[in-house]
Symmetry: C2
Subunit: 233 residues, 2 copies
DNA sequence: TATAAATGTTAGAGTAGTCTAACAAATTTT
DNA sequence: AAAATTTGTTAGACTACTCTAACATTTATA
C-alpha cells in the first residue's frame, strides 16, 4: 500500500503525460513544479518509486510510469473524479468547490467503497468538469473536452458539464433546451462576435460566446487502454 | 489544523473518558494502548497537544481534554458516525464493515462536506451501531445503548440499530413489526431461557434471546454538553 | 564547438511521528 | 514503611518527507 505522497507523485506523472500526449516522459523540474515541491525532493521520491517498479527512471533521463504505476495512477484519478461527481450531484457542491475536497477523498483506501460509490452514482461517464471517469477495469477514455465556444463550425458534440453554477445561467441552459448528454450540432459561427447557431434535439438556437464558454462538451471520444502491453504483435 | 495523528489522540482521549464516566482522566499507558503506540510515543504527543492547549497534562498526572480539545474530538466523532451512517444507508455496507472505512473518512477536512452529508442523510440521530451522532453544535447525547436482551423487565426503549445484517434476520425483524425508531416495551422475561415478551405499536410478540441480542436499543437518553464550563456556579 | 543556461543530483539538515532502553515516580503489597 | 510492581518519562535512534546549497550533466546558444 502506498502513502498519500507516493500516490500524489503517480497521479502527477499521469496528469503530465495526459496533458502532453506527444512527449515521451516528464522531467524532474516539471514533476516537482506540478507537486509544489523542490526538484531535489522529487529526485528522492523517484528513486523510491523506481525501486517499487512504479516508474521508469534513470539519472538525467525522462520519467514515465510503468504499467503497474499507470494502473495505480488511473485508480487514483478514478477515485478523484467519482468523489467530485458525488459532491456535485449528491451534496450540491458547485463546479469549483469539488476539486479541493476530492484531493483528500481520493486517498481513501477501500475497493468496496469506490465500487459502491460508482454504483450509487449510476456509473457516471463524466465528472463535473467534463473529464471522463476511468472504469472499474482501469480504462481511461481520453475525451477531447472543450467548451462549446471552441467547437468548430459544422462539428457535433455532446454536453458533459457546465462551468457556471449560477441560477441565471442554469435557467438559460434549460431555456435553450440543453442538458447533460444532449447532442449539439454547431450549425454556424459568426466571425464578428462568435455568436453560435446550434441545433439540439432538432431545435435551432443562437447562443453568445460567453454562454458557450460555460458549456463543456466532448467531441469524438477515443478509448485508451491502461497499457500498451496488451497489444499483440 | 491538526494532523491525522493529533486528531486520533484527541479522539482516543474522548473515547476513554466516555467509556469511564466516573474517572477523572486517562493514563499514559491506557492512551497508548488505545492508539496502539508505545507509552513513550504518547508522552511526546501529550507535550505537543498540551502546548496547543488541547489537553490538560502534567508529568505523572492524569490526562484530560481541555474545552477546545473536547470540542475538536466531538467533531471527529461526529464525522466518524456520519460517515458510518452514509456507508450503511447509502452504500449498503454492513454493520461490521463501516468502522474501518470511517476511520479514514473522519479526517477529511471540510466543514461544508460534513454539513451537507448530515443534510443528505436527513440529520440522523444514531449511527449503524446505535451510538448517538453529535449535532453540528457539538452536543453529544450519551445514549445508554444496549441490546434488547439487556433491557430489564417492564422497561421501555427505542430501537436504534441492528447488529446482524443477514436477510433471514432482517425479515424476522419486519415480521415482529419492529423497525428503527420503534418504541419497544419489555413486558416480561422468562428466567429459564430469557424469552422476551415485547410490545411494539400495541402488538405483543415473543422473541428469543438470540434475536434480542441483535437489536440495539436506547433507554432514557440524556444530554451532555460539550463542556462543563457553561455551567454556572 | 565552446560557453552559457537550464536541468537534474547529491549531501547534509530539519520536522513529525515512531521505537527501544534506561531511568524516575507513584502505587501496591507485604 | 520498605520492597516490589506498575506506571510514566527521558534520551537517543530510525523512517518518511521535505528543504537548501553545492555540484554535475545536458541542452541551447553564440
Amino acid at each position: 500500500m502506498l502513502s498519500f505522497t507516493e500516490e500524489n507523485y503517480l497521479k502527477s506523472l499521469l496528469q503530465i503525460t495526459l496533458e502532453n500526449e506527444e512527449k515521451n516522459g516528464a522531467g524532474t523540474n516539471e514533476l516537482a513544479a506540478h507537486l509544489k515541491v523542490k526538484p531535489a525532493t522529487a529526485t528522492d521520491m523517484l528513486k523510491k518509486l523506481k525501486s517499487k517498479k512504479l516508474v521508469d527512471y534513470k539519472k538525467y533521463g525522462k520519467i514515465s510510469l510503468t504499467v503497474a504505476g499507470r494502473k495505480y495512477a488511473v485508480e487514483i484519478i478514478r477515485k478523484h473524479r467519482l468523489w467530485e461527481t458525488f459532491l456535485y450531484k449528491k451534496l450540491s457542491f458547485t463546479w469549483d468547490e469539488v476539486h479541493e475536497v476530492a484531493e483528500q477523498l481520493e486517498h481513501i483506501q477501500s475497493q468496496k467503497l469506490i465500487d459502491r460509490l460508482d454504483e450509487f452514482l449510476e456509473y457516471p461517464e463524466f465528472d463535473p468538469h467534463g473529464d471522463t471517469i476511468p472504469t472499474a477495469k482501469g480504462e481511461l477514455k481520453i475525451s477531447f473536452k472543450k467548451t462549446l465556444a471552441e467547437v468548430a463550425d459544422g462539428q457535433s458534440c455532446k454536453m458533459v458539464a457546465v462551468k457556471d453554477n449560477s441560477a441565471d445561467f442554469l435557467k438559460y441552459v434549460v431555456k435553450v433546451g440543453l442538458g447533460i448528454n444532449n447532442n449539439i450540432k454547431v450549425l454556424s459561427k459568426e466571425s464578428y462576435d462568435s455568436l453560435l447557431t446550434i441545433e439540439v434535439n432538432g431545435v435551432v438556437s443562437s447562443v453568445s460566446q460567453k454562454f458557450a464558454q460555460n458549456i463543456f462538451v466532448v467531441c469524438p471520444p477515443d478509448t485508451m487502454k491502461p497499457t500498451s502491453k496488451t497489444k499483440k504483435r
